[in-house]
Symmetry: C2
Subunit: 351 residues, 2 copies
């Protein structure tokens, strides 16, 4: 990719993102993206980190999630509006920007609704690599909405999980998930309760969508040695696990200041001990140290994962044509002459 004009920012539309994902293949996209996420978590201390900047309203939330590694700056705009689904809209939509810290110029604008689904799944699978029991091949997925297939494919690509046990309060969602995954090498069971879904599962993924305190998993459903990948509880007032499960688990989080507000651990005291995922990845803190241990990845989604995803997409554009050129930045011939640019446009229009 060479962008000749300073005014141009490459833009990846929804259609181009789909084509990019299909060009690369969903499983390889997730595997490659996981490498970028691991790279960034391993240099965690270097990042400028801040909890997301949220604007809450009656119907939902709009958030900005910025971060920087000192060379690149990224942010994501993301909303969360549970009622949207009833109006034919997405609960969550997102877009993001990567920029050059040296000049402050944006380098990439991209849709991130699809990309967020991919990075969320890749992050879950990366965490599970360090936390799930060795030889895990069976995963329960409770909540079979928009994120479920991505989770399944990421866990297959990174961990070799090929047996799925699906449960959703709406069985048509489970059927949709099973149908979408057909031909991808999964052995799939559709279950009629959460209890049934977790039977024999090494990994339990909870990824439901309602914005309320819920108990998707009760204490008795969680046996020793499992890994829980709790994805759905991701804002204040939205949790999925019974508190007693947390007390029996090694809790791993992305960024404690954010997770204490948004994650499952909002049910616990503000100083309850948790481990940070980057500490596990870098070996500062042990991951799973005992086959009988219950591990819990209390995922809420952090800005650095979006940053990794933006970096990954930007790198793909070097050798694909899956972007448009967006005339986003004013670029007068003489930087101090912004008004003269208007005058020249007027002269051009008049000619």
């Amino acid at each position: 990719m060479t962008i000749a004009n300073l005014n141009i920012v490459p833009f990846v539309s929804v259609e181009n993102m789909m084509k990019l994902v299909l060009d690369i293949g969903v499983d390889r996209f997730l595997t490659d993206l996981a490498v970028y996420i691991e790279e960034d978590f391993r240099r965690w201390e270097l990042f400028d980190k801040t909890p997301r900047v949220a604007s809450h309203s009656h119907d939902g939330v709009i958030e900005l999630m910025p971060t920087s590694d000192g060379q690149l700056y990224g942010f994501k705009y993301v909303n969360g509006h549970p009622k949207n689904m009833r109006e034919g809209r997405q609960t969550v939509t997102a877009f993001g920007v990567l920029a050059d810290v040296g000049s402050g110029y944006p380098m990439l604008l991209t849709e991130m609704t699809i990309l967020t689904a991919l990075r969320t799944a890749a992050t879950s699978a990366v965490a599970a690599k360090y936390l799930a029991p060795k030889g895990s091949d069976t995963m329960a997925i409770i909540g079979n909405g928009a994120q479920s297939e991505f989770q399944a494919i990421a866990f297959k690509a990174l961990l070799g999980v090929n047996k799925l046990r699906l449960y959703d309060i709406n069985i048509s969602a489970s059927r949709k998930c099973a149908s979408n995954l057909k031909g991808l090498g999964f052995d799939i069971a559709i279950c009629t309760s959460g209890q049934e879904a977790v039977e024999g599962a090494h990994i339990i993924t909870t990824v439901t969508a309602d914005k309320q305190y819920a108990t998707i998993l009760t204490d008795n459903m969680v046996g020793t040695g499992v890994h829980i990948n709790a994805v759905g509880g991701d804002c204040p007032g939205k949790t999925e696990l019974h508190r007693d499960i947390l007390l029996r688990s090694k809790i791993v989080v992305e960024y404690p200041p954010q997770t204490r507000i948004e994650g499952e651990i909002q049910q616990l005291a503000a100083d309850y001990p948790v481990v940070e995922l980057w500490q596990v990845m870098t070996g500062k803190v042990a991951g799973r140290h005992d086959p009988s241990e219950i591990t819990l990845f209390d995922s809420v989604g952090f800005a650095i994962e979006d940053f990794s995803a933006l970096r990954y997409v930007r790198d793909q554009l070097l050798h694909t044509k899956r972007f448009d050129e967006l005339d986003l930045l004013a670029d007068p011939d003489e930087p101090r002459d912004l008004f003269g640019m208007l005058l020249r446009q007027a002269a051009k229009d008049a000619a």
Copy 2:
């Protein structure tokens, strides 16, 4: 404007923004925009306000400036990199988004480099309407870079200022400014010092660009009764006025928590009394109450001004074609079936 598809966000490119401004006319654009800004300042207390979210680096800063009135949400991305000019880039570039609080869906993406120049000038002129001496017709502009012409046109359109006294350390900037304003009804004097520029001026606008403590105005240059429109000092470590001027002035600011960090008043104690512009507009606090009073608008630029500008541009799109349709939001037929959207794209590509 009717946008049929939920995936589409209207996008105003730099070229379309220029055409929109030229369609409307710079002076009418500024006058109309000033009405939106006044509307929003008059309902100031209703807004969700936060100081900008800044990421500082050696060479500059990248900022996100969000705000919401409960119905609409807006944010601006803006950088400030003084070194850019030496590399043929803009010191400041910006873009912004307006979104619907109810659904979280973006409603507008627009360039904001030009739009920021316009809203900054419109805000200065609105403030001066309340603060400048009655019958002001002469303005000194110290610093004749990218913002200078916009200031001149805004003050002419809103206050009737038609005599300009220009000064810049680089006289070619003054000549550029004078040349760009030719034929617009100004009587223009190019001055060889700041001292010369302020002679006989009712209003003194300082709008220099260097990121350092500077003294563009010394105390003896400011006589009784003038209004100072201090636009250039707008980040930590960047000021333009000698501290003694501040101590003699009625200081009016946009949003104290931000201005105390970024404005001229960073030179004063954190509790030094200042007046908020919205208080003057709504009559809660008197504006100029004495012809001999020195008034100072310590402008740094606040998110609500960008919000007003986004609202204004959005309203213009209802009756112009100055936008493109951006495929920014994933919009699967069935909201819970994001993965199925990928599968359908694959089927389409294969057909």
